[in-house]
Each structure stands twice: as C-alpha cells, then as structure tokens.
C-alpha cells in the first residue's frame, strides 16, 4: 500500500513539470516582455529610453538569455524561494497577493465539493430506489437543468432575483458595514450569508452530473443477485441499500474527484468575477487583461498544482476504498 502511494506521488512529478512548462509558455505568449511594458510606461510619463539602456535592462532581468535559462530562473525561484516574480500591475511581489486569494478559492471549491456530494448521493440513491416515482422525475428535470445552466449565468440570475425580489444583495463576501470590521460573531454570520451563493452556484452543475451517475450505478447494483439475497435474509430496505450497493456505487465519486476539482476551480474563477468575490478569479482576469504575466502565470501554476494534488488524493482514497485497484 505504502509502495503504491509512493509510486503514485512519483508519477505526479513529471505532470507538475509539464504544467510548469505549459504555464511558462503562456507567460511568454503575448508579444513583448517586461522591459517592453516598462518602456511603454516610462514613455507615458514623458521619459525616453535608448536602445542601449533597454538592452542593459533586459540583461539585468536576464531576458536576453535563451528561453530555457529564463524558464529555469523563473521556476527555480518559485521552487526554492517561493518567489513568483514581480507583478507589473501592482508593483508588488506576486506571492504577497497570491496566497490569500488561493486559500479562499480552495475553501469555496472544497465547500462546493462537499455540497455536491451531499446533494448527489442521497438524491441519486432515492431516485434509483424509487425509480419512475414523481420525485424521481422532478429530480431528473432539475438535474438536466443544472447541467444546462452555466455557472456564471446561474450566478447572474441569482443576483438579479436577490436584488429584484428579496432585497438581498448577492455578491461580495461581506456587507459594506462588515467589510473592514474586526472579526466577531456577527461578521462571521455575514460571511456565511454571502458565502452560500457561490458555493451553491458551483455545486449545482457538478451535483447534476453526479446525480445521474449515482442513479445509473445504483440501478445497476440493485439488480444484482446479492441484493436479493440480502433482502431474503430479512434485512430492512434501509440496511440493504446503504450497506452494500451504495458502497459500490460510490466508487466513481472518488475517482472523479480529480476531474471535479479542475471544474470547480474553473467555475470559481468565472463565478467570482460575476459575484465580485475576492478569490483568484477577478485578480487572474485583471492580470491577463493587463498582460501582467508573472501574476497570471503564478495563479495558473498554483491552481493547476492544486488540482494535481487533488487527483493524487482521490487516487489514494480510491485505493483505500477499493482493494481491487491496489492489487490490479
């Protein structure tokens, strides 16, 4: 078991290296570099820079070196010093701006993942055990709707409904009066009152998909002879269903955590822009629009790394729950 985990961790190293290379390419894609942007900025202030000075600037930032050396400079600073470079836009080290935002994104994504499961598992089991009942149809329709409505559109509609009919301001993480207040119970409550919106918005899409999977898996398991045997032994329905078929039907949940996380993080980026949340989304978007590439690169790198770690955890979880995979 330990060996399997070690092997799995080692496997993810090349993936991480690939991701860092892909990110570096994205940083390099826009025409021009840091010095071009810097010169443009100085010219706006009325200063002129000679070609000689520009070349010296490039040399001092190491931008005249071959790409592979530049890549090494960038990644080694991140790995060994946690230094993601400077944000051109904010004139601050990227790492100063990065971590708070990432933490909030991860919190929202994790909460939505939990909510996704909390919705999908019980409803999936219900729909399968009461197939073709009224509620099964209701949940099926809701599930299809959830799959068809993009996250950001749902956020927009919720925002409008909250404003137009409930006089409730959806968006942001705090009401204005608590924005700069010290932590208190009231402030915490205010946070919760705002936090549920993005969490629910993100969870619906995923839950709609998983619900169908859960229902299909359960239907397949419920038809198997061992279920009939369990009933024949005189066990109650609740005992039979939750003890055996549910456990088998849950497998895809663990194996799809790896895909659920990237989807949730993607969803968070765009939902946060709509709802004006202080997570990675708005900052990443601004960085990309302003070609603040070290900032954008830092975000893309860290977000991708977290999904790799999420996949890793889901694989380990899967082997813990399903011994067949370990011994395959």
């Amino acid at each position: 078991m330990a060996w399997f985990i070690v092997k799995r961790i080692l496997w993810s190293v090349p993936t991480m290296i690939l991701i860092s290379i892909a990110t570096f390419i994205i940083i390099q894609l826009p025409p021009g570099d840091y010095v071009t942007a810097y010169i443009a900025e100085l010219e706006e202030l009325g200063e002129k820079i000679t070609a000689q000075e520009a070349a010296e600037l490039r040399a001092s930032f190491g931008l005249d070196k071959p790409l592979i050396v530049q890549y090494w400079n960038w990644i080694s600073k991140i790995v060994f010093h946690g230094d993601f470079g400077l944000s051109l836009d904010w004139k601050l080290p990227v790492s100063d701006l990065l971590w708070d935002r990432i933490a909030l994104t991860l919190m929202i994504s994790t909460l939505s993942l939990i909510l996704t499961w909390a919705i999908a598992i019980p409803i999936g089991v219900y729909s399968a055990t009461r197939q073709y009942s009224i509620f099964d149809y209701v949940f099926t329709v809701l599930g299809f709707l959830g799959r068809g409505i993009p996250d950001f559109l749902l956020a927009l509609v919720l925002m409008w409904l909250g404003f137009a009919y409930f006089n409730f301001h959806v968006g942001g993480l705090f009401s204005p009066e608590y924005a700069d207040a010290p932590w208190s119970f009231a402030r915490f409550w205010d946070l919760l009152a705002h936090l549920w919106v993005p969490v629910v918005v993100l969870a619906t899409g995923g839950a709609a998909g998983l619900l169908r999977v859960m229902r299909a898996n359960m239907l397949e398991e419920l038809g198997k002879p061992y279920v009939e045997t369990a009933y024949a032994q005189g066990m109650s329905e609740r005992e039979v269903v939750w003890r055996y078929p549910v456990r088998v039907a849950l497998n895809p949940f663990f194996s799809t955590v790896g895909w659920a996380l990237p989807a949730l993080i993607s969803g968070d980026v765009i939902t946060a822009v709509v709802l004006n949340l202080p997570t990675t989304g708005p900052l990443l978007l601004r960085a990309l629009l302003n070609q603040d590439m070290y900032m954008a690169g830092g975000f893309i790198l860290i977000l991708s790394l977290f999904t790799i770690i999420g996949t890793l955890l889901s694989d380990i979880l899967l082997t813990l729950t399903d011994p067949r995979i370990r011994h395959a």
């Binding site: 993936t15 894609l29 068809g148 895909w259 990237p262 989807a263 993607s266 990309l288 893309i300």
Partner: protein, 376 residues
C-alpha cells in the same frame, strides 16, 4: 376467415421487418423512442435555421443604434384594442424622463396602435452577402422612429432580438467549427492510441490526463489573453475555436480509443487483414465506419462544451470582442448588478444559451442510446 389476415403471419412479417432492418433504420427506431431527444433535434434544427436566415428573420440591423430608444423594455404583443380584435399589434412608446434620477422610462401609449406586418420592408441588407434586399419577416408600419422591440433594447438602443438572432450565427458556428477541430485531433490521437497500443498509447493517455487535469477556464483565459486585440475579428474567432479544441479533444479521443480496443480483435477486422488489406485501408474502410454512430454521439455531446467555452470567454472579455455579436458578448452587457437591475431583459441571451445546451445534451444522450441498436 378469408377476409382477416392470419395473425400468425402478420406477426412473422413484423418480426421479419425487424430482423432484416438495416442498422441505420434500427437506430432511427430506437432514437425515435427517446421523445426528448427527438424534440431536441427539432429545437436544434430550428436554432440553426434561424441562424442561417438571420438577416431575414431579424427585424432590424443589429448594429443600428438609436439614442432615443436606450433600454426600452420588451414590448407586449396585443390582439385586442378596446375590446376589438385587431390582429397582432403593439402600442406606441411614451418616453418620459424621471425627474429624480434623470433616467428615461418608457410606457405604452395606448392611443397609437401599430399592427405587426409580415414580410415587411425595413432596413436593407445583403442576404448572405449576395443579394441586396430589405425584406424582413416582420416589422411595423409607422414613422421612422416607431419600432418594435419584442425583447427590448440595450444601452445604445439596439434591438436585442435582432442581436440575439445574429449572435446565434456566431455562437452556434463556433460550436460546430470547434468540434470539427477537436474531432480531427481526437480521432487521430484516439485511433493511433487504440491501434498501436503499448508505449504510444500510454503516452497519449498521459497527455489526455494532463490536459484534463488543468482547470480549463484559467488555461483558456491564458491562451486567449495572448491573442493581440488588434487582430481581425474573423482570425480571432478561428483562433478561439482552435484554443477550445486544443482542450476539448480528450473525451473524443477516449471514445475512439475505447472502441478501437474492442473491435481490434473482432472477426471482420481479422478477415480484412487476412485478405491483404493495408493497415490504412483496414482503419478507414472497416474500423472507423463501424464506430460512426458512437463518434457522432460523442461529437453532439462535445458541441455544448464548445459553446459554453466561447460564451464564458467572451463573457469575461477575452474571447470574441465587440463589434462581433455572439451570445457571450451580449451577456457581457448584463455582467453587473447595476445593469441587470436596470434592464433585466438583458439576460435574454442566457435563455438562448441554456436552450441550446440542453437541446444538445438531450440529443447527445438519445444518439448515444441509439448508437448500438443491437444492444438490449
């Protein structure tokens, strides 16, 4: 008894029809049972029809703005005027300026009745860039300033319905072109992986896993941000579809690879090989056709992903940009609470997006179920 046909033989002929039906007929029978999928097919057909004949079906030019008609709410179509049947008509607009907020508000002026005219002569356009004409499906007669806004107008007084119809042309075609690119990548890599197997297969599998593990939106954004703003909109449009395809091919490749693995060892493939067919012929003439239905189902399910991608990118301002009209670009106007509170009808393009995505999802589900008619 002679007038009645023997029930036994009738049963047999029915059974015979089923037994001798061609696979395509069987698929169609099976597909028809999926009522939702059948309806979705009609809906999608309708949407693409509207997109194709956008110039004629849209009542106005989508770019023509009118300062006097900013943020006109959707107009209601009436049938009865003062208890008298008049056919479909709209009332004229009364413009007032709110004394407190200085905002323009519109109300119905029930004195003016404008009947809706079908095959109306309105703004002139070049149909498909070929013929100059000014025929529109509907419009209203009246002064130059009297217009009909079934879905309201935006901040510049442009007709939202016309813009949605024109935007559909862009958004719906992005789905098709994007899927075409990802189909090319997916089917190539998928068949290579499924045919050669071994290390090549493992490498392609890892690549697909890698692409899947990156959060799509940050990656799309990163790639899209690299496109220079000044480029020709059509070129940007093509590049956006390529970007969507670069990330969206994995699922198609997975489907193709899976089917290659299952049919690789089947008799008809072996027979072809034994008859001396070259590998290329075996693949293109025998193996690929046998999985057409599965590939079509997978493609149908991939189109909504592409449409969502385009919409999300344009919505964030990194995809297609105005003056190009797409549903994502249109939703950009509804991005903040202020504009939605002021003009909730700006969310209408969202309804078009949801309808399209749902229809493609249902159609894809139906096709997937019908793809294997011999399975019980």
């Amino acid at each position: 008894m002679s007038t009645l046909s023997d029930p036994q033989t009738e049963d047999n002929t029915a059974q015979l029809t089923v037994d001798t039906a061609k696979p395509l007929t069987l698929m169609w029978w099976r597909f028809k049972q999926h009522r939702l999928a059948l309806w979705s097919l009609y809906v999608i057909g309708f949407l693409y029809f509207v997109a194709a004949f956008a110039e004629f079906l849209a009542p106005y030019d989508p770019f023509k703005h009118s300062r006097l008609h900013a943020f006109v709410p959707p107009q209601q179509v009436h049938l009865f005027h003062e208890g008298e049947f008049k056919g479909p008509f709209v009332y004229g607009l009364d413009r007032e300026r709110d004394p407190e907020t200085a905002r323009l508000t519109f109300s119905e002026d029930t004195d003016k009745v404008y009947p809706i005219k079908f095959f109306h002569r309105g703004d002139s356009y070049k149909f498909w860039g070929l013929w100059e004409t000014n025929l529109h499906l509907f419009g209203i007669e009246g002064g130059r300033r009297d217009r009909i806004y079934l879905l309201g107008t935006d901040a510049l007084g442009r007709d939202l319905l016309s813009r949605i119809i024109y935007g559909g042309r862009v958004t719906l075609s992005v789905g098709l072109i994007g899927v075409f690119f990802s189909f090319v990548i997916g089917i190539t890599l998928g068949s290579v992986a499924g045919l050669i197997g071994g290390r090549v297969d493992a490498a392609i599998q890892r690549l697909a896993e890698f692409v899947r593990s990156i959060p799509t939106i940050p990656l799309w954004l990163g790639l899209a941000a690299a496109l220079p703003v000044a480029w020709d909109p059509i070129f940007v449009y093509l590049l956006i579809t390529v970007i969507l395809a670069l990330i969206g091919w994995t699922n198609l490749a997975r489907v193709v690879r899976g089917h290659f693995l299952t049919i690789r060892n089947q008799d008809f493939v072996l027979a072809a090989q034994l008859s001396g067919a070259k590998p290329r012929r075996v693949v293109t003439r025998h193996m690929l056709p046998s999985m057409t239905s599965y590939v079509i189902a997978a493609i149908t399910l991939a189109i909504p992903e592409m449409i969502l991608g385009e919409t999300a990118l344009s919505f964030l301002g990194l995809g297609l940009r105005p003056p190009v009209v797409s549903w994502g670009v249109l939703l950009q106007d509804a991005q903040n609470l202020r504009s939605i509170a002021l003009a909730p009808w700006m969310l209408a393009p969202g309804a078009a997006i949801v309808t399209t995505i749902l229809a493609f999802n249902f159609l894809g589900d139906g096709l997937r179920d019908a793809a294997d008619p011999y399975q019980q």
